[in-house]
Subunit: 462 residues, 2 copies
């Protein structure tokens, strides 16, 4: 893409400083996996919507590109500059503005875990939970339509967001259902939906009105070992039947993922002794200890698995979760991770892991894990020799083959992570020319000077 942006000069710095805090901090340039690195020396840190609006208005007039950044925990390089774009951090906008009729109103920079704690104190819970909860912001979650561990129970984050306040490219502030914060409001076009999952390329989300479920009084977890993926699928089917309305998570990981987490993540233990091909973690969240326990015991009775254990208390349940949640970090500590976040029809979900193992050089680590309830596979691959050359060769073996396979199977090349700068060039393969043309039209309509998060989401237009 042609460079047609202005460069930040001294008068720009003065103008931005007159609006809000501006810092030069290289840490904002790098994503948490240290995979993508920009070279911006300008980080604006607004405290209010008005400041965000003023920054955008100024930058739009001057055609200065902007990268919105929340907790910077994304996995596709969407929240760091590609070049020297100005970084707009929402982290100082972290007020929780109250809860009414099960709808909480928050500023974009609120950390997910802080929101969850706030809600817990009032008998509610955040409808999403993910590994990065201690750092990610709810604004970033909304901008990327984050998925995670509670999707099976509460559906997509999109489904829980009832309204947004957004500053668009020219600084216009849209009250898109935020101030009313109603669960039902069928008046006019669903403007707020446009910004959910568009990764900061159409506007900067400043506030979110989020419908939140009641917290569950009783949470149980169980771990099962399975010798085949068919057995794994059987656990999901049986859990849906016996646990039904209290089923809140159904996660699987293979033995390679299990070995990595036990080896690289301190303090992880596996209460099941066998070395079976798979583990499945089932969580229930309900309101009645006796009923829930009976349902979970019904699951144990009905299941056809090698072995299984119900966590007797919250500490043991947390240990089971560590096995699953530790995988991502464990893989990262082994070296550079070729990460794929894929949706696939459940019946073919694990085939791709097996086929990947067949393709890669010996001693490559290939681990498969993910969210069974939404057919979301996380496939992680780490080269045997962790040097640049090995990684380059491995990438050539993996891509575009993996994407070809996923598209052949009618899957998604990015289930929950988004496209960012990592997969934007694949969009034209995943969607039809008509869909892509409409996306470009929307981008041009909403951000005619293309200042918002450039080089991301949409493929280069040349």
């Amino acid at each position: 893409m042609k460079r047609f942006y202005s460069a930040v000069g001294a008068s720009d710095m003065a103008a931005l400083r007159s609006i809000c805090e501006v810092v030069d901090d290289p840490s904002y340039n790098v994503d948490w996996m240290r995979k993508w690195k920009g070279r911006s020396s300008v980080v604006v840190r607004p405290r209010t919507t008005e400041e965000v609006s003023a920054v955008l208005k100024y930058c739009n007039q001057r055609q200065l590109p902007i990268v919105p950044q929340g907790g910077n925990t994304g996995l596709v390089g969407g929240s760091v500059p590609v070049k020297d774009e100005i970084i707009l951090s929402t982290r100082r906008m972290d007020s929780i503005n109250g809860l009414r009729d099960g709808v909480v109103k928050v500023e974009a920079g609120v950390i997910l875990e802080n929101l969850d704690s706030y809600l817990k104190d009032q008998g509610f819970a955040a409808p999403l939970d993910l590994g990065a909860k201690g750092s990610c912001t709810i604004g970033g979650n909304a901008a990327t339509n984050a998925g995670g561990l509670r999707f099976l129970r509460y559906g997509s984050l999109r489904g829980s967001i009832v309204g947004l306040e957004v500053a668009t490219a020219d600084g216009t502030v849209l009250d898109a259902g935020y101030s009313t914060g109603l669960r039902k409001d069928n008046t006019g076009y669903p403007i707020h939906e446009l910004f959910i999952g568009s990764e900061g390329t159409l506007g900067v989300i400043t506030k979110i009105a989020l419908a939140v479920p009641a917290s569950s009084a009783v949470v149980n977890a169980a771990l099962f070992s399975c010798e085949s993926f068919n057995q794994v699928r059987g656990v999901l089917a049986t859990a849906r039947r016996t646990c039904a309305e209290i089923l809140s998570a159904c996660e699987f990981f293979d033995s390679e993922a299990r070995r990595c987490v036990l080896e690289y993540e301190p303090g992880t233990t596996d209460p099941l002794g066998d070395d079976a091909a798979f583990r499945v973690l089932v969580e229930t969240s309900g309101s009645h200890a006796t009923h829930d326990r009976e349902k979970l015991e019904g699951l144990l009775t009905d299941l056809d698995v090698l072995d299984g254990v119900i966590a007797p208390d919250a500490t043991k349940a947390a240990q089971l979760w560590r096995l699953r949640e530790g995988i991502s970090d464990a893989m990262t500590s082994r070296g550079y991770v070729h990460k794929y976040d894929l949706s696939l029809p459940l019946e073919h979900m694990y085939d791709l892991v097996t086929q990947t193992r067949d393709r890669v050089p010996p001693n490559t680590t290939v681990a498969g894990y993910g969210h069974l309830g939404d057919s979301n596979l996380h496939l992680n691959v780490v080269a045997a020799g962790d040097d640049e050359n090995a990684n380059y060769e491995l990438a050539a073996v993996l891509e575009p083959w993996i994407f070809d396979r996923v598209l052949e199977l009618n899957g998604s090349i990015s289930a929950e992570h988004g496209l960012g700068q990592s997969k934007n060039s694949l969009l034209s393969r995943a969607k039809s020319p008509a869909m892509l043309a409409l996306m470009r039209k929307l981008k041009h309509t909403m951000d005619p000077r293309h200042i918002l998060n450039p080089y991301k989401v949409l493929p280069p237009s040349i």
Copy 2:
């Protein structure tokens, strides 16, 4: 709005007939409440997406306006012509194209009740249910983001739609997540969301991929009588706590609604003898008869109400539901109904009914009922003397006062019914100029010749 459309001539008729079935049937011109009436003599009845696309392409070239119509059960005149627009009926597109991983794929013209029956046979349920289920189509439901009785449990229809196939104004067919039908797919902008709730003004929905919940093995219903709206709210709060994850509906109706339904709907009976100000209907849907019954009995123990009854069997439960579902028809059989579909903060939800009663002439019927879980009030008003003059005067007493009150309270003037031709002129009061400007931009981007469902949703631009 200026008339700038072409008129349908003999060559147009020939062209349309070469594409698909064309009929002249006045019944398509009138909505089911007989409130709005167009004068179109051209109804096209395509059988396939290709036919829809060809019709649109032709009409766009000729600048002939089109009204998409499903079951024509809407309440805001959105699916009948305002003038002589061509009607595009989706009713012949009624194939159900299979179910996989809990996602069903259907053509737009499938009747909701037929879909629900199909799903029931396979252990699933439609995530929405409404009074018009025997006539409304899933395409119309999607185009209007229909709400209804299961919203409390399964959330908005929008949240369950994972993909759409849509024909846009120029006949382009968009595969917006339909063919993959994945619960998770964060690749590019959420194009399908644009068409949900935009009432056929941005495109014609031809196919829907819908995530569906497992059907519940056990359904119970209970009816309570309350002397105040505070008590009514108490039922919801207590039901959320004691029934928790099995709560599937919480509906209320006032004594005026109750009297109407008992008087005008044959076969309705009320098992509670008192004449208290309110009834609340609580439904639970779960998987375990004993557990569910215990939870419901816990509700009875914890509640502070005048009286209550749990339906002992499905027939009695259906009778309780008739009391609630019969209200709309009962009101209609009393005369012309001034209908308001409003979202309001729960604490102020019933005040508006009381205030309305204080404003209207003596002997006016003012009935309030609706969905407590989503703060969605249906306010129905019928004049004492059902003649045109009385209705005209009543309307002048009610409007714009009601809308003023709702907007003052941060509510919505159309919670689940949409705007159609009935409330489109109010949109500029409900949303900010910036929101309205963006909606107009989207309309112009998607349908530059404004052929799709003209005079609806957006207010006249003059």
